[in-house]
Subunit: 667 residues, 2 copies
Amino acid sequence: MRALFVSVLACLMACATAQTFQRLGGCPDLGCIFPPDQVDFLAGQFFDIRLEVHSPINGSEARVGEPDPNFSFTISKKGGNAVSATEQDISALVLTLLRRPELTRTDLFAQDAEKPSLVNVTAKAYRRVALYEPGDYEATLTYYGTQKTVANWHVRDLPTKRRAKNVILFIGDGMTTNMITAARLMAHRSINGKYMTKMALDKFPVLGHQMTHSMDSFITDSANSATALYTGHKSTVNALNVYVDSSKDPFDDPKFEIITEIFRRHFPHSGVGIVTTAFLADATPAALTAHTSKRSELDHVISAYYDGGVNNLNWTNWDGPDVVLGTGAENFLQTKDAPRDYYKLFSEKGYNVAWNNTAMQNAPSDEKLLGVFQTSNLALWLDRNIYKENLNNQSNYPDGSDRDATDLPGLKEMTLKAIDVLQERHDDEGWFLMSEAASIDKQMHTLDYDRALGELLELDDTVRATIEKLQSLGQLEDTLILVTADHGHGFDVTGSVDTKYMNAHHDDRDKRRSIGNYRESGLSQYTVDGPDALQYSDGVHFPARWDPRYTLHSGVVAFPDHRENYQVHSEGPRLPADEVKGKKDDFYVSYKDAVTGFLINGTLPVDADQGVHSLTDVPVFAQGPCQELFGGVYNSIDIFFHIAECLGLSETQGRAAESCAAQGVKA
Amino acid sequence: MRALFVSVLACLMACATAQTFQRLGGCPDLGCIFPPDQVDFLAGQFFDIRLEVHSPINGSEARVGEPDPNFSFTISKKGGNAVSATEQDISALVLTLLRRPELTRTDLFAQDAEKPSLVNVTAKAYRRVALYEPGDYEATLTYYGTQKTVANWHVRDLPTKRRAKNVILFIGDGMTTNMITAARLMAHRSINGKYMTKMALDKFPVLGHQMTHSMDSFITDSANSATALYTGHKSTVNALNVYVDSSKDPFDDPKFEIITEIFRRHFPHSGVGIVTTAFLADATPAALTAHTSKRSELDHVISAYYDGGVNNLNWTNWDGPDVVLGTGAENFLQTKDAPRDYYKLFSEKGYNVAWNNTAMQNAPSDEKLLGVFQTSNLALWLDRNIYKENLNNQSNYPDGSDRDATDLPGLKEMTLKAIDVLQERHDDEGWFLMSEAASIDKQMHTLDYDRALGELLELDDTVRATIEKLQSLGQLEDTLILVTADHGHGFDVTGSVDTKYMNAHHDDRDKRRSIGNYRESGLSQYTVDGPDALQYSDGVHFPARWDPRYTLHSGVVAFPDHRENYQVHSEGPRLPADEVKGKKDDFYVSYKDAVTGFLINGTLPVDADQGVHSLTDVPVFAQGPCQELFGGVYNSIDIFFHIAECLGLSETQGRAAESCAAQGVKA
């Protein structure tokens, strides 16, 4: 056994009736196997195994006595022999009791009564194992004498021949088909129902839908969903590339290998790039390098960019990405709480560090590059291009000074630069680039639909420019291009609003008459040319104006208390709800927001100040080698498997030293 | 010229500022050509031409004098010669003034002031022309001496070889990807994020998205969208297979040929079937046979089923469909206002007439069949299968008596029977079947999400059974199967609701705490087996229960005032809003609906008692011959062109007697 890790814990689980009892994700009963039942693996993909045995102290399953320390564990291939894993050394067993009140959805009555459920746990972990032979495996945990928990595992039988040299994965965070339809309406002119121009996305040859739900809840967050896209393993909300166990330690949960780690392990001279409009420690980029059950461990995330996670206990060592472009300077700066100066560290490691667009553009493309352009998230397309005065007085320069960051790249500039760096450095073994339009999600959260759709149009423009760039580099035929999302928001458009009429009336019910549906929706007024129409460069498709008299009647399905006037928030990004003065976690409509609109009371708990993610399957657009794999409807994890297949990363011939051999775990 | 029709009218157009001025759809200026600019044609598809010249009496374009009666019209093929059409006889020109206040979105201030805009019109029509040679045409209307209106027309260059013997087009009315995702969650069990079973839709090899907007408004209704799917021509809300002209007569608008008409014209021994869960005079089935600018002309619709529209002036004569199954008996019965007894007429024409499921099942499959099973829309899947007591006391038996219709088929039974009839009668030349799950839309309108999703699951079950049936008939390889929608509703799911907690609290803001998002959404409770789980036959996937404690937190983006408790409406279909007593068109939350829920004020005009259609692109699932045509993103009209191509209906060699010849209109 290469790695043995023993951990013994106790956790809190929801009590109450059988119907509301909800276990730790992946635990069907008092025994838990991570990875859990029904999981798929890429052949040769590293993963940790963690086993737990629970002994509930209260609740309907309460029992007397400690959780069984003498459990046994076997893995057998269907048709093969079981191999016991418990013959391995178990170095320590300690029983503790730990309150962990945030586990999963707990019963609200029990929460109100402050009666948490308590569970004692024994646990054990095996680090960095792998299964090489495709087929079905059965992992069995036996405890309390005869009780058994079984996990059926499947190693996919994929072709091993590499078909794509490069992969670009665009993620429109929170982007749905509904939003694409709305963005098209705002930016592309149609005559009698025929669009005169198309979105870049509309031209992709292959379309699919992916299901975004997580392992143990049907609404995901971006950490968990990015994990599925990059590793083929669904996990739990807030988790990055681990299954969440009952331990409180955010760094000991059982890991599984990420596409970047596998790619670099198979092709040591390949390149990896990360581009985002979010702060770089945010979940979607973080999931390319970090392993933790808490996405909020921001320093851990930045350190994983820095060294590829070499400090992870017994794990794939790789050197980190070639190019990292985004924002969130606050996580790179040395402070009292953050003793490391990451700018210095990256620089010492050979990265050029760029703090503005000019420096990024001037950075030599044959060297590694870190670009951090401001604190917090990148200023939005609408503010960078239309309402530019909103960039002033932000004190957000990435060096930590109180200057304003105004020389900012957009998603397109960052993505094209990243391609330059990757192509210059890795023309031989190819490269993988993830480029995220993060603020589609962030602006949907705050019901700022104009800004969200501006970000979506910027993504589309970036995709268009990327295809042109790859063509000019001679790389288009060899590059798999994917555009997808990690989850949705329940957004749609249902008509138009006569804002002049709305603004001229005072009664909320009178204002609602300004809304026109069906025939009265009319045609898009965002595309109407005229003296006050905006000027863009040729072939770039954004609205001609953002403030026509007739705007879109847009909304989401779940929202906090807010006011709605359906007009662009030209004064800066929207904040629809405010905390009631003196009352924590109690949000009402903001008195400053959309003042000419009418009031809409919320459909979310009153501690919500913004909208939430939704269930819907999200689209996948594919073009290039292996594009045919991405048609139809499938699980989010299939994106990982298809990319891995296309890059030839399935490894059906194991290396003995670090493998679970064909017939069972060998470690 | 085969047909000449002259019509002179006047119409009302919206006045007010340039920004709010909205013309008759298809009229870019004072001249109108129907079909308008940017229209595509199937080669050989019949259509009418209508020309109008406008003379506004008031508004910003007001002019002195009558509209030009001496306009001229030419059509030229790009690269060919223009041929004048005005040399033809114009038999009469009369100027009248006609108020037509409902034209398009009129300015609300002008409406409030009751200041309509008035326009005089001259008009002329050519009936049943066609273009055979693929390519680009330019139609030019010249009026007032030198003013010109140009319409660019395109005849698609499609392969003429037939590839599919049969086509089944399933329409989930109002169905979106978001709803499919929700239905899957309710009916299919997942373990650790992997579904153990799949929707039939999830197994289709090819997925596409279609844009549903209409010609002159971005939110469509079902008449207009069905028109696009069946003819390749987008039109205006409420129109069935015509462009809406300025005339008030709902039967004189310029027509274009429907897939059913073209199919039967090319293959006289082919079959056509129509199945719907709506009343049969409703738009989606009606659009397979009727031509009118008003979908509310219900008797016209039924008469078009009866005789295929042979009374249409100079039009394709066909004999109507082989099999028509649905409801809406009130439009078949003889009454004071409706002098025709359609049951008798259909029967005399050789149709078996079935009034219940038993009679339908027993009808010989080698004869034509009309099934009308109740008045109004078909009772919903949820009421027919779960809350059966809701079928009582409806007085809806299709013979017009006050008995209850309880021996009802569902969409599956109707569809399978229709296939039997079509296959029995048309094994040689093949058949076309449209099967509509109408009440996905109707129940989304009334915010009855459980019933809507029940209908969607019934559609999915029908698709599954259809594939099995075609397999057993040896027809699967030869049948193109499409499943799509005609438009969306802005629906999504954002979490779960602890209904016990909600019901136990009284304050609206306290009730909102029962909503759980993200991690707290948990797993679907609709699939949990148990003693109170429902029993269905094997392999049929519906929820195991409809009233778990934890329900879905669902919603739409635009709604009337209503109350929401997120619980199944077991007492019968939902009516969320009521008219305020004594106040017409003023709707508030119904005092009887969802009484344990909290109040949500509406985001629609107060005259709305239900939700509205939305903008989103809708999915297209394809399997069978030509499936590859249906991938990616495209316009709704492309569905028609792809079906027509697959059936070999493109006719590039014109028959001289009834054609616009290659170089221009000859008639």
